[in-house]
Amino acid sequence: MAVIELKNVQKVYGTGAAEVQALKQIDFKANEGKVVLIMGPSGAGKSTFLTIAGSLQKPTSGQVYINGEDIANISAKQSNALRLNQIGFVLQAYNLIPFLTVKEQFELVDHVKKQGNLDQAIMDKLLEQLGIAGLINKYPSELSGGQQQRAAIARALYANPKILLADEPTASLDSKNVDEVGQLFKNLAQNYQKAVILVTHDPRLEKYADHIYEMMDGEMIKKQ
């Protein structure tokens, strides 16, 4: 069974002259244990796709299933809980809370989700892998763009979600870091059975992907 499945999904922003068809007839599946790459030019609808797959907003029409459950009509509270427990987001930019240190970003999750978060040992190992173990008492403004991005990845993984959705996770990383993060995503999928969906322009990530989709003007084509 697919962890995430979109059937016939459309998203229209605005009305009348301002109408934008951001997504047209999207059919998509992602399974656990796999890394899926979604590529495409700016404005293609990649972020829109991610917000709908991650229950941040609802499609104009069509169905979205997470773990086989239709989430089209769930309440704001239920979708909140879904995001907290099942989905980890790595957002395109500014995705850390500016007044919390890296460590406190994790603590915030502890305050609202008491169980099932990564334990200290796994977390330490993860931070080590991401190369930010020494930075946990720093505020986001004290980190470089790449360090912020890696901290955001750690935060998204902290609640131990089944699904990891990332928007441009390597935008401010150099080649060495891209390889490390790519390897980490692959490792998460293969060894921790996560479904990893990455939206990116970055061809350097292609070699870590099990599937690659190309988006263009709201349509999605499977390439690999």
């Binding site: 941040l56 879904l82 987001f89 500014y94 809370i97 007044f99 919390l100 406190e104 915030l108 609202v112």
Partner: protein, 353 residues
């Protein structure tokens, strides 16, 4: 709480300024309230120290004791128990060549009645003869000493201070307690007058013969010259201060909240419930108000300590309690205004910006 405290810690300057403002407002509220209570009490101190419940005055005196004169005829039917006392009041200017002049109220009382009996002396003794007086402690702060002689309204007679009393002010003027006979002399040229008023500690006391009329003490206090106007002025100022602080707190929290919308969106995208975000905002404003008010209380306590006794300020527990509760309430109401916006945050806004 977690978010609220972390954010204040990180943004010390921003929140420090808000605390500074809350401190200044609450300090002002405490000062004005203390002044209002202090002044009100200088109007009524003496009346409260007598424990007066009813007062009999000349019905043509517009409920003013210093305007009232009761004659032998007016008082011909009185039966005075130990709860009633005759009293004569007249404004005087007290002079002594070595001391500053004092505008005061002369109050003549009878030695065998309760107003005389209940005088609370802080120094000296009670007046025993017609030429002896006990005076309010305000005279002491102006440099008067026991044994000083007072010339009242330029009369030839001199009155010797034999004691100082506590809480003896009426209508903001210090009282000079003397005998009823001396009062009659000060109101020279008025034949047959016996007193200005009968004061009773009995709430049911009533006497309405000839020109006499009985008034409940509340009505009497309300008619003290300037008393009601003064209280209303203060109440208006304090009320406005609360409204202003409500607006300031609300506007500031609103602006802060609007600036934080992106953070809220990110947290909502992470699955942090909006309840947590609302709780953070409300508890944050409670923390700010509590800290501001505590500093205000400390400043007020210091002010009350260093201010000269001549300033009529009375910083009572009631003021502390109602001022603190009032500010807290304002803070909570102010913080509830942006709640609607927080609940409406679109988590999708967090992505791709």
């Amino acid at each position: 709480m977690f978010l609220a405290i972390k954010e204040i810690k990180r943004e010390k300057l921003r929140y420090g300024l808000i605390i500074l403002m809350i401190f200044l407002i609450s300090y002002l509220i405490f000062i004005l309230s203390s002044l209002a209570v202090g002044l009100a009490s200088e109007n009524t101190q003496a009346i409260e120290s007598w424990d007066a419940k009813q007062v009999v005055l000349n019905k043509n005196a517009n409920v003013s004791m210093s305007q009232s004169l009761l004659t032998k005829d007016d008082l011909s039917k009185t039966k005075l128990t130990k709860n009633e006392a005759l009293l004569g009041q007249t404004p005087v200017v007290a002079k002594n060549s070595n001391r500053p002049q004092v505008s005061a109220q002369f109050i003549g009382v009878k030695k065998d009645q309760f107003i005389y009996d209940d005088q609370e002396l802080i120094a000296g003794r009670k007046a025993k003869k017609d030429r002896e007086v006990v005076v309010d402690q305000a005279f002491q702060t102006k440099g008067y000493k026991l044994g000083d002689k007072l010339e009242l309204n330029g009369s030839a007679n001199k009155y010797r201070i034999v004691g100082f009393v506590k809480n003896a002010k009426i209508n903001i003027a210090p009282i000079i307690y003397g005998s009823l006979a001396s009062w009659r002399k000060l109101r020279q040229g008025m034949p047959n007058i016996k007193a200005s008023a009968i004061i009773s500690r009995n709430a049911n006391y009533s006497y309405n013969h000839a020109n006499s009329k009985t008034y409940p003490i509340a009505q009497f206090i309300k008619k003290l010259p300037g008393y009601t106007a003064q209280n209303m002025t203060f109440q208006l100022m304090i009320g406005f201060l609360f409204v202003i602080s409500l607006i300031i707190i609300a506007v500031f929290l609103y602006i802060l909240t609007m600036q934080k919308m992106h953070n809220f969106a990110v947290m909502r995208a992470q699955g942090i419930p909006s309840r947590t975000l609302v709780a953070a905002t409300v508890s944050q404003s409670v923390i700010l108000v509590v800290v501001g008010v505590i500093i205000g209380l400390a400043a007020m306590w210091l002010t009350a300590k260093v201010l000269p006794a001549a300033v009529p300020m009375s910083f009572t527990p009631q003021i502390i309690l109602s001022g603190t509760c009032g500010m807290l309430l304002t803070g909570i109401i102010g913080s509830l205004i942006p709640v609607r916006s927080i609940l409406k945050v679109d988590p999708a806004k967090a992505i791709g910006e």
